[in-house]
């Protein structure tokens, strides 16, 4: 198996190189058979990497400890699910997995563009193959996943206990899918610059890829936060750790990009800016990988530190220099006679939305790199942690939420103050009244009151927008309100999917603000049968159950939770001990409700005194962070869903025009 895997990776590298040459020559000399051959080479490349991944999975599942990777990240007793996820648990495996995703996406792009985009697609595929060459080069020459050990150990070293969690089974694949997905619009942007086809063809051709990437970046960040919440045992979910930041920055920039392209599609403006944004998004995915693997910045998530930093940095610099050079060479052609009438317009709202989103991304980037800068300039090592990021980003988040309310309702081109007052009166009153009600209810933190008011304002604008659409439908077609809502969303899925995403963002924002401001913590040592109080809950410690498997020992405390004298839950926080690694770990117990999460950690057990120490967090509304995240995902699915009207437009375009033009019209504008 190891030999097959290594050979497959070597062949994949050769095929990637061939596909670049064949694509470029085929496109330049207009030889369709050569570009077709390049496509076949890409499919073969994908097949080869799939073989390598299959070989690795087979070795992992069969505990083939002759392989250094298998011996380093698994053991005989590791549960099968974690033997499978060990593929992305270590350095070489995660790079192999990344490369696999990249080659799969490249193959799909090659299939999608067999008869479309004859000008741009060969170059976009060449760019994607270029990225694949870097990763395949690493896998063949620098960090080889199929390296063998001189002496085969009796058992492997096992997987890091922190990675033995189901969120870790889905967090890295989601994030990597998001990262790699961003390379498709980047490749088309770069190809558009190479070819000089600078209209919005590259955007329309990759709109779904961009949303797809954003969807998985959202899920990846969300799953990662949930993993931190359940595994790290500190009651929080986001620590502004460099690796978390590295996953967050591309999400921010992709969010800006998804908004900004609407202006280009609609008004033929911001051509340079959109190319800059997609370049930044792709660069940040490489930067994230560089941070995770270089060890330049210490991080709780750097499970795969190695000496790969210089290679990633070199590749990142190369990409930035080449792309910037390409962009600068086309700046004159990219200039358009943009029309802009008023700051009271949707164009302006989107511009400021982009400013704030990229501003937050810059603040995160700056804070992440500042320790390195400080050490270089002053020779003093400092930490830039949560207090910095919270303070800097808090006002920007409010601005963003405000713009989220304004953007969808304000008119294109210009609005008058009168019309603004008419449009925004109800949402504004709703927002203000919410703030006043919160104040009357006893809230005094100005930030929380502002956040609640703005959240209500945004919800109000979305309700107004839905109400308008429903009224219009009911005016045209006689149907019930629920039917009108369903049909409205189905016929305008891109627009209303976007509103659903906004609802999700608002709910997640409320969850974040409430949990940041009002989390309470109680630490208590109690004997069996003793109780203690946390908020309105009474917790009684009933005793410890110990269990043992070949893989781990666990001591599970039983804690009965009562409220108003009535038992409502049995919680079982545990201390685990991984035998192979001789490492302790904590398994928290969480009782989640829409009002608050009760989060119980078994901090210690003293056998002599019989005391068990519990650390308990009561976090209000944090449920809405996860719920909001999944609503965002639902909204994205709605926005991506193939639209009947859209298909009709594509079919008509294919009939009426050349393949190239058909593709340019493939996705109608909309909002």
């Amino acid at each position: 198996m190891p030999l097959i895997g290594q050979l497959a990776l070597a062949l994949a590298l050769v095929l990637a190189g061939y596909s670049i040459i064949a694509n470029v020559i085929g496109a330049r000399a207009s030889i369709p058979s050569l570009t077709a051959s390049a496509r076949h080479a890409l499919w073969a490349m994908c097949a080869m990497v799939t073989v390598a991944v299959g070989a690795m999975w087979s070795s992992l599942l069969h505990s083939d400890f002759s392989l250094e990777y298998v011996a380093s990240y698994t053991s005989f007793s590791l549960p099968t699910i974690y033997k499978i996820t060990a593929l992305w648990g270590g350095q070489q495996g995660s790079l192999l997995f990344w490369t696999w995703l990249l080659t799969i996406f490249t193959s799909i792009v090659a299939i999608q563009n067999r008869r479309r985009n004859p000008e741009i697609a060969p170059y976009a595929l060449a760019v994607l193959a270029g990225v694949a060459i870097f990763f395949l080069g690493m896998l063949n020459f620098v960090t080889r996943p199929f390296d063998l050990l001189a002496a085969i150990p009796a058992d492997g070293q096992d997987l890091n206990p922190l990675l033995q969690n189901y969120w870790m089974a889905i967090h890295p694949p989601s994030l990597y899918t998001g990262y790699v997905g961003a390379s498709v619009p980047f490749a088309f942007g770069a190809a558009a610059l190479i070819v000089g086809r600078l209209d919005d063809t590259w955007i329309r051709s990759t709109r779904r890829w961009a949303i797809f990437s954003w969807f998985f970046l959202t899920l990846g960040n969300l799953f990662g936060a949930r993993w931190a919440y359940e595994v790290l045992g500190w009651g929080g979910y986001w620590a502004w750790d460099p690796v978390e930041n590295a996953a967050f920055m591309p999400w921010l920039v992709m969010t800006a990009y998804l908004h900004s392209v609407m202006i280009q599609e609609r008004k033929d403006m911001l051509k340079v800016w959109n190319l800059v944004l997609i370049g930044m998004a792709f660069g940040l995915t490489l930067f994230g990988t560089f941070i995770t693997r270089s060890g330049v910045i210490s991080s709780v998530h750097s499970f795969t530190q190695s000496g790969l930093g210089p290679y990633f940095l070199t590749f990142l610099i190369l990409v930035v220099v080449l792309y910037t050079g390409l962009l600068l060479s086309r700046v004159k052609q990219l200039r358009t006679r943009a029309e802009f009438e008023s700051y009271l317009s949707r164009e302006a709202a989107f511009l400021f939305n982009n400013l704030v989103l990229v501003g937050i991304a810059f603040a995160v980037f700056w804070g992440t790199l500042f320790p390195v800068l400080s050490e270089a300039v002053r020779g003093v090592k400092i930490t830039v942690g949560p207090p910095f990021f919270d303070k800097v980003n808090a006002p920007l988040a409010l601005a963003l939420i405000f713009l989220m309310g304004v953007g969808p309702l304000i008119a294109w081109r210009r609005s008058s103050f009168d019309s603004l007052a008419k449009t925004f009166a109800s949402p504004a009153i709703f927002g203000l009244t919410t703030g006043v009600c919160a104040f009357v209810a006893g809230l005094r933190e100005w930030y929380v009151m502002t956040a609640l008011s703005l959240a209500a304002f945004v919800i109000g604008t979305i309700v107004v927008e839905f109400r308008r659409g429903v009224s219009a439908r009911r005016h045209m077609v006689s149907e019930s309100v629920p039917a009108a809502i369903v049909n409205l969303v189905a016929k305008n899925n891109r627009r209303y999917g976007g509103y659903v995403i906004h609802i999700g963002v608002v709910l997640a924002f409320i969850g974040i603000v409430a949990s940041a401001f009002f989390k309470t913590e109680v630490k208590k040592s109690v004997k069996e049968g003793e109780s203690f109080q946390v908020g309105s809950y009474d917790l009684e410690y009933l005793g410890i159950n110990t269990t043992e498997t070949p893989h781990l020992e666990s001591a599970r405390a039983r804690v009965e939770v009562r409220r108003g004298g009535k038992a409502i839950a049995m919680m079982e926080p545990a201390k685990l001990f991984y035998k192979r690694l001789q490492q302790p770990a904590t398994a928290v117990a969480i009782r989640s409700t829409p009002a608050a999460d009760l989060y119980v950690v078994l901090a210690g057990i003293d056998d002599q005194s019989g005391l068990a120490t519990f650390q308990v967090f009561l976090t209000p509304l944090v449920f809405w962070l996860w719920a909001g995240g999944f609503i965002m995902a639902l909204g994205t699915v709605i926005a991506m869903w193939p639209n009947v009207r859209e298909r009709a437009v594509i079919a008509a375009a294919v009939r009426a025009s050349s393949p190239l033009e058909a593709d340019a019209q493939a996705v109608p504008g909309g909002d």
Binding site: S299, A456, F518
Partner: protein, 170 residues
């Protein structure tokens, strides 16, 4: 009609109160305004290598964060303020223990740059928009689409087209 309007107003008012209460009550119930060990510990970085703050170190029996948290508890119990506790630990371990840069000297750059960048971005937008506006047509006629389209001013042909497109899209 008036009764319907009243009913709508009442429903809206109820919705507002329900939303505000749903959001505010759990927060108010859980609110604890005093300075806690957790809040002070957020200002210090754990030195065990976890990369987290003293408040958030996830090592169950961490040799650094556990005693430091106990020490913070004792110091607050003796009446010291949060900043005094932080200053004590800074004196003992140096600047590296702070979880955020100070606001003096070179470190001020950490705080200023994000906002300076946003201001610069805002200025760039203002400059670019100024250039766009200089060659934009004079603002006349109704806006393209959106909230303030006044249906009464449409000519019949435009209205027919609008209705046709509405039927297709809505």
């Amino acid at each position: 009609m008036r009764r319907i309007a009243n009913l709508r107003a009442r429903t809206a008012a109820l919705m507002i109160v329900a939303f505000a209460c749903a959001a505010a009550i759990p927060i108010v119930v859980a609110a604890a305004p005093t300075v806690s060990v957790q809040q002070v510990a957020e200002g210090l970085t754990c030195q065990c290598g976890c990369g987290l703050t003293v408040a958030n170190c996830n090592h169950p029996n961490c040799e650094f964060s556990v005693p430091v948290r106990e020490q913070i508890d004792q110091m607050l119990g003796r009446g010291m303020s949060g900043p005094q506790v932080i200053a004590y630990f800074r004196g003992k371990y140096g600047e590296k223990i702070l979880s955020a840069p100070t606001t003096q000297g070179f470190n001020i750059l950490a705080w200023i740059m994000p906002f300076a960048a946003i201001l610069a971005g805002g200025a760039l937008i203002a400059f670019t928009v100024g250039r766009w506006r200089s060659h934009s047509p004079a603002p006349a006629g109704a806006p393209e689409t959106g909230a303030d389209a006044d249906a009464g001013n449409f000519d019949p042909e435009l209205r027919r087209r609008l209705e046709r497109e509405l039927r297709e899209r809505i």
